[in-house]
């Protein structure tokens, strides 16, 4: 059940504009612009409560964000001990209100469902608006890991995956002394639960999907809802043999403490290998693909330089004697072909990198360049260039990456860094294309409506670059700038905050082709789920 946020005092109605018939936002903004709006302050106040119980949420953060065309900056405050907030000196206009508190799902005022975007609120100085906002909690899954006699298995890791193929790792938890586990912070949806495999003194258990299946095909689906815990999702893992991977890390100098990480589709584990020799061991592993990488600081400047090693293989039996010789020469040369365009300084162009391994994507790190080079430890990485305004990335080539003709250089690009280094070469072109237009909701303009632009390959039916998002301004206008040429899909809707490709499909998001150095005009109809 979706908690709704209610406005308690009615919004003013302008006599010259008809009430909107669709389920879009109020449009008496137009009325305000046609008449002379006085510059008295608009006031919005309200309460924030826990959805399930109605208890006041003190110290919740409330952010009031004006949409383009409304004067003023984004302001925020915290609710007081009774969950109350008040903003009393806002310029009249249209705002998006966002509320959050640790442990709860963040909410945008006016959102229809848990993953919808908030509807903007028109505020003027006639009467204060009062909002009653209810924050729900994320869903959770709980159950017991049991042996063949229904006795709980303590300290057994449990992993939750999204029910995709391949399953996507979402969260990991560990069972307590009773064998009981709880995975929380889950978005609504369908999940698979799997034990991670554990080695005890008396035997070993294989990774097993709930309730009792090794292959994913027979795994039990768990439906998760907000404010609810799926209970009794028990797993009975199979007994079996688990293996270990062990060896030494060889840094220079030999006493340098080294971090060694093992990645599989069940997640990552990191250990510290110190001493001479720097021994490491990962135990309790199921057969399958794995990657190991090692990292340590390097002389002469340990704050900046590093040394690393990388290995990928398949586990079928105990692997002993792995030898990771760390190299300090894995310099990655970042290059902008033809040099930076005239008028640009090197500080305006930023590079980002993140590791990519069997467990997914790593954390994004900003790459610091010294003379066009930076150090990344050996392994699989994704890199991207964040161009300044007025430019876009028009091509990419890098070492070790198999680039399909369809790949888009303006997103993440995969490369392989080995012990001797690698290169990443981008081409920056000036004056990307732009896409703009008006979003209409029936006959009315949709102000503050989210617009999503997806770089899309219609043949492979795949999203190629991260979604771009914007909101329309007070006149329903939107624009995206500095776009690389290619195929896209665009969708204007309040129904979703972060639509994936399947949602864009279901919404019949219009496709378009953007040519280089062009400005495309495209008006959109606000999409509403029928």
């Amino acid at each position: 059940m979706w908690p709704s946020s209610r406005v308690i005092s009615p919004r003013p109605e302008s006599p010259s504009e008809p009430r909107p018939s669709g389920s879009g936002p109020n449009t008496s903004i137009l009325a305000c612009l046609l008449t002379v709006c006085s510059l008295h302050a608009a006031v919005v106040r309200g309460t924030v409560v826990e959805h399930q119980t109605g208890k006041f949420l003190a110290r919740a953060t409330v952010v009031v964000e004006p949409i383009a065309g409304t004067p003023g900056a984004t302001v925020s405050m915290r609710t007081n001990i009774s969950g109350l907030f008040e903003f009393s000196s806002l310029a009249p206009g249209t705002y998006v209100i966002k509320v959050s508190r640790p442990g709860f799902m963040p909410v945008e005022y006016g959102q229809k469902r848990w993953n919808s975007a908030g509807a903007p609120l028109f505020l003027d100085d006639s009467a204060p608006a009062f909002l009653a906002i209810r924050l729900p909690r994320w869903g959770a899954i709980s159950g017991t890991v049991v042996d063949e006699n229904e006795i709980g298995l303590p300290e057994h890791d449990v992993v939750a995956y999204r029910n995709t193929r391949p399953p996507q790792l979402v969260a990991r938890s560990r069972s307590d002394d009773r064998g009981v586990y709880r995975i929380s912070g889950l978005e609504p949806g369908a999940y698979l639960v799997r034990t991670a495999g554990a080695q005890y003194e008396e035997g070993a258990y294989l990774p097993t999907f709930g309730r009792e299946s090794i292959p994913v095909e027979n795994a039990r689906l768990v439906d998760v809802l907000l404010d609810q815990q799926a209970n009794n999702i028990d797993v009975r893992p199979f007994l079996g043999k688990l293996f270990s991977v062990s060896g030494v890390a060889i840094p220079d100098p030999p006493e340098t403490p080294t971090k060694v990480t093992l990645a599989t589709d069940m997640g990552r584990q990191t250990v510290n290998a110190a001493g001479i020799p720097a021994v490491f061991q990962f135990a309790g592993l199921a057969p399958g693909a794995f990657e190991i990488y090692a990292e340590a600081p390097a002389n002469p400047d340990p704050a900046v330089k590093l040394q690393g090693a990388y290995l990928s293989s398949t586990l079928r039996d105990d692997v002993k004697g792995v030898s990771l010789t760390l190299s300090a020469n894995s310099n990655l040369t970042f290059d902008v072909r033809g040099g930076l365009p005239r008028g640009l300084e090197s500080g305006q162009v930023q590079f980002e990198a993140r590791r990519k391994d069997l467990a997914g994507e790593g954390e994004i790190v900003a790459v610091k360049l010294v003379n066009g080079r930076a150090q990344l430890a050996p392994g699989r990485w994704e890199v991207r260039l964040l161009p300044p305004a007025g430019y876009y990335v028009s091509s990419f080539s890098g070492s070790g990456s198999y680039r399909s003709a369809r790949a888009r250089p303006d997103g993440w690009n995969e490369i392989l860094v080995n012990a001797y280094g690698a290169f990443a070469r981008f081409t920056l072109a000036s004056g990307g294309s732009s896409l703009s237009g008006i979003v209409k909701d029936g006959a009315n303009l949709a102000a503050g409506a989210p617009v999503y632009l997806e770089a899309w390959d219609p043949d492979s039916r795949q999203r190629l670059v991260e979604l771009r998002t914007t909101r329309t301004d007070a006149r329903g206008g939107y624009s995206f700038r500095d776009l690389a040429p290619g195929a896209y899909r665009v969708l204007a809707t309040f129904e979703y905050r972060n639509p994936d490709s399947a949602v864009m499909d279901a919404a019949n998001a219009p496709s378009l082709r953007i040519d280089a150095h062009s400005d495309l005009q495209r008006d959109l109809d606000l999409y509403v789920i029928p």
């Binding site: 208890k55 006041f56 640790p102 959770a140 063949e148 006699n149 006795i151 300290e155 002394d177 008396e202």
Partner: protein, 504 residues
Amino acid sequence: MPKWLLLSLAAGALQAAVIRGVVVENQTGRPLARALVTVQPVAGTAGAPLSVRTNVYGAFEFPPLAPGAYLVTASRRAFATLQYGQKRWKAAGVPVILDEAGTVALSLRLPRFGSIAGTVVDENDVGLPEHEVMAYRNTRPPQLVTHAVTDDRGMYRLWGLEPGAYLVRTAAKKGDEDSYLPTFARETSRVEDARPIEVELDLQTDDVVVRPFPGRLSSVAGQALTSSQVPVTVTLVSDMGSQSTVSDSSGNFHFDSIGPGLYELYAQAPSDRRVGGGLQAAFLPLLVDRERAEAHLRLGPLADLQILVEDTQGQPVDFTLFQVMARRKDLSGDGKPETLRPNRGHVSLLPGRWDLALTPTAGYYVAKFSAIQSDNAGRDRADGWNEIAAAGGPLTVQFVLSPHPGVVRGAVTGANREPVAGAPVYLEPYDPAARKRLADLRVTRTDMQGKYRFYGLPPGDYRILGTFEYQSPDSAAMDAAAARSVKVEESRDVALDLELYVAQ
């Protein structure tokens, strides 16, 4: 042919005693597969300890054993270890007695440890996520046992707890705008007002709610100066535990989110960059009562402790005849004992308070202890832990060993005057006037003839008790059991038979 069979045939005895049984979960009766069962022969019974694991039905059977008495224990991860025959938690197990062809089938019910569960809430009773919660034994100072972190609902669970009284306390927490002070359940910052929580086996004590006080937390910052540019490990200790950090190369360190109260700062660093060089250290008591507490430590060489060990004639005693143990003492309690390895009678100690104890070989006892530089001029009972303060200067302590220890021995008999094999006997060094225990309890078990023996005893007053009711009785338990008093004298052999104490 198995070796044990050969030996027993040669001895003429038949090994056919069988111990078998089943191990189950106490609360539900469900079988515990792969549990570990161990038999330990009582002194006088042939053979060595043996272990087997239960099968998938929880059943076990040992290979044929020599006749005699055996102590049987069963254990499995996440369960409390059980000694067969123990009357209650922390009672001693009763040995199983078998003759040549005896068979015994045992049912071992393993209980789970206790737990405490509850919620950490704000002033509106809304749960606070990611708040650390600790469980302490209700001693003074309180002893940290385990900790947990609240989940998104603000709920926590502290598990693996032995039965007893505990205190539950949240840790200091700094939010973006709000901070919370360390608070005891349900809502107090003073340990004196904290509500002790009783924990039992197989039971979860629920609804232990803590409402932490919002308040300003302090930071402790300062500089630890050393002669070389090495990072210093700085540890901040309170009566509730300790935390450590490493300074930067200029010696600057800081601790955030510290609640008000009394602390001790300890600093330690290598003397220089060479691996294997000496240590330098410093110690400073600190009161935190305002937003920012400053501390400056100057590290210096460790205190040099000279340990003199002589006999009653004043002659030095060979170092191979004894072991010296030391444990650091700070606000959070006593540290782990470690064995000292003096180099020509000298050892370096980090600054602070220490306990020293000397364990002589059989034939000696510690008659006297004194710390030369201080007023500590030889207590009566030097055979336990002796406290000293190390402050950076040289320090000399002297142990006097006497080669004339006393002995107490005898037999433990049951209600029908029959000897009791494998019965625990506890000997407590005791001051009858002050009614206080003076040194650690000594423990042994009677052999197959029901006989026990304590040797190497310093002369003095003791209490003695033979009973299965406890695994480690404190003075109050010895009182309740009407333990017998016994006086030990130099070179004297005291014979004392005991009646097995059975609680009513």
